[in-house]
Amino acid sequence: MQQSQRRSLEFVLDNLVWFMLLAVLAIFSAAVPSYFQPGIFANIIEQSSVLGVMSIGLALVIIAGHMDLSVESVAALSAMATGILFASSGIGMGITFTPGWLVVPASLLIGIVVGGLIGALNGYLVVKVKMNAFIVTLSSFIWVRGLVVATSGGRSAQNLADEVRFLAIQRFLGIPLTAYIAILCFVGFSFMMAKTRLGRHLLMIGGNEAAAFRAGIKVDKVLMIAFILSGAIAALAGWLLAIRTSGATANLGAGMLFNAFAAVVIGGVSLKGGLGALPGVYAGVLLLSSINTAINLMGLPAHYTQVIHGLLVLAAVLLDTLKQTIRKQLA
């Protein structure tokens, strides 16, 4: 194979998930009535915000060679905290500030602190107590969701303050501001992964923890940061979720963990750690949202949507596996 052909092939493989996304968008645009319109593409970007942000935190921990199953429940707790404190109906306490816009940083800060604390607890148990990350975060997945149900009593909070809802309603270039928050997160954390020492250390630890330790990297500290970031980012996702639905219910966000995992894997992050980039994860999230939107528009019988969703995700992962095989043959 010539050098130029090889470079082209590697470019395609490196960005396969983006090509898959383009192909899926083209197919759905041609096959699904009403799919090809700017509003639908704006919807896909908007619907990707919560899952996208959640996937960033999950990807960071997975790249570092660990696992965080608690992200969905942490997001739900953050959403419920936002709902209870700042929504005005249901169980919402309707706390307000003067000036009113202060509710935005206040609610965000509370959510992120809650998420960061849970992330710190996860990190402490994994890093310091040397417990298995899968078990620790599975436990957090359960008890944090339980805390959501307990604090809400199973009831809902609704009607978030207009100053917060503004972020979901106000659009710039046809896309809600919440989507820009997600995009900013991807840009910021992609930069962190590619250009900062922390990002490089996360990749190195995920690739070979012992070698990273021997190279002088403070493995425990970096892993601790990864878990805290994962919790805080999941809380940010929950905050966006509460804004999107104007409140919180006890089952808000249920099922998102599996979609976040699917997005991370489709996006090219290795579950073994040490491999992956966040732009690919964003493409994975957009791909899932595109599929979801197509299913919504196709008007398929309710019973089959889960089957189709699962099979399409499987197809995407199979393509990704094919990519890995080709890459090995090239090496």
Partner: protein, 346 residues
């Protein structure tokens, strides 16, 4: 050490006393198998049943199945071993729980179906509003709303189901579509909100608004789904009344949406009356006495007991809540439980 042991024993005895007979009601324990605590109707049912059963002398313990059929089956097995006075079951899966109902009854424990009717086996009592009937009431309201909006029964309805694996939502869909079949000029688009999760409902609404901008009514199968639906309508620049919104179960969030002008109709499940009916007949059920068919007054609602193949059943009519009657304290969504204690049926 002796002191420590003594204090320990006192603490243990105190804890045991707190957990058991000290506040147990005189007629014995009843178990309520709630399908989930993730929606307001179910959490409301726990407190309503507790309140009404306490009034007639029973102590209620609730077990949550987290919407898992196998977990509810295990819970049934465990509770049967405890030999309570009765089991109140709101089944996660109507058919899968039938063998557990049979096992309880064979062990001499009466089983009461609450809110979710099991017709494939015999139970000692059933108290329902009727999920299919909720679909009928919703269809009648859609007929009224479309006539009001479009001059005749024609238009487009987006039906947001709950999880497609939940027979509860499928029954509402069945009733709704059965009744709506009489109106061929009405297009019904049905989409499931997986796991009854609100943001899924919001996504469906925002997508469908683009694909079908002429949607007249969004009908969600639970009030909490309507909250997200309304958030999506608002984000799409809609004003209250541009697209009619309705849902079912009568939760407080829906009543608030009606007050805010976003929602036109909420089909209420008469939670208080359903729970009160169970308590009113509990003595008869526990004693194994015959429950006579006929009309009974349950918290002011005329309710009919009939003896069906699956046992005596009380059906309490669901009501349509609108802006005109939203403040009626009889609606459980207003969270004003009846002040007067109920009287057991003699």
């Amino acid at each position: 050490m002796k002191h420590l042991l003594r204090y320990g024993l006192v603490l243990l005895a105190g804890t045991a006393g707190f957990l058991h007979p000290a506040y147990a009601q005189e007629k014995g324990a009843v178990y309520y198998m709630v399908p989930t605590l993730l929606d307001e109707f179910q959490t409301g049912s726990v407190s309503a049943l507790e309140m009404f059963l306490e009034q007639v002398g029973y102590d209620l313990t609730t077990l949550n199945a987290d919407n898992k059929t196998d977990l509810q089956q295990s819970q049934m097995n465990d509770v049967i071993a405890l030999a309570p006075k009765a089991i109140i079951l709101a089944a996660v899966d109507f058919n899968a729980l039938a063998p557990s109902v049979d096992a309880a009854r064979q062990a001499g424990i009466p089983v009461i179906q609450f809110d979710r009717q099991i017709s494939s086996t015999v139970s000692d009592f059933t108290s329902v509003a009727g999920t299919v009937e909720i679909g009928y009431v919703a269809a009648d309201e859609v007929e009224r709303l479309l006539t009001e909006k479009n001059g005749s029964v024609k238009g487009k309805v987006l039906q947001v189901l709950g999880d497609p694996g939940d027979p509860y939502t499928l029954d509402i869909q069945k009733g709704f579509e059965e009744r709506m079949a009489a109106f061929p000029e009405v297009t019904i688009i049905s989409q499931p909100a997986m796991m009854w999760e609100a943001s899924n409902a919001g996504t469906i609404v925002s997508d469908q608004l683009l694909a079908n901008p002429d949607i007249d009514i969004v009908f969600s199968h639970a009030a909490h789904l309507s909250v997200a639906a309304v958030a999506s309508l608002e984000a799409a620049g809609k004003q209250p009344g541009d697209v009619y919104v309705m849902s079912s179960n009568g939760a407080p969030v829906a009543l608030q949406l009606i007050r805010d002008g976003w929602m036109q109709v909420e089909v209420e499940q008469p939670l208080y009356a359903q729970a009160a009916a169970v308590a009113m007949f509990m003595d008869k059920i526990v004693a194994g006495e015959e429950i006579a068919p006929g009309e009974y007054d349950v918290l002011g609602l005329p309710s009919v007991v009939s003896v069906e193949e699956w046992g005596p059943t009380i059906k309490i009519p669901g009501a349509a809540i609108t802006a005109e009657n939203v403040d009626n304290p009889a609606f459980w969504g207003n969270l004003k439980p009846p002040a007067d204690p109920i009287t057991p049926v003699e």
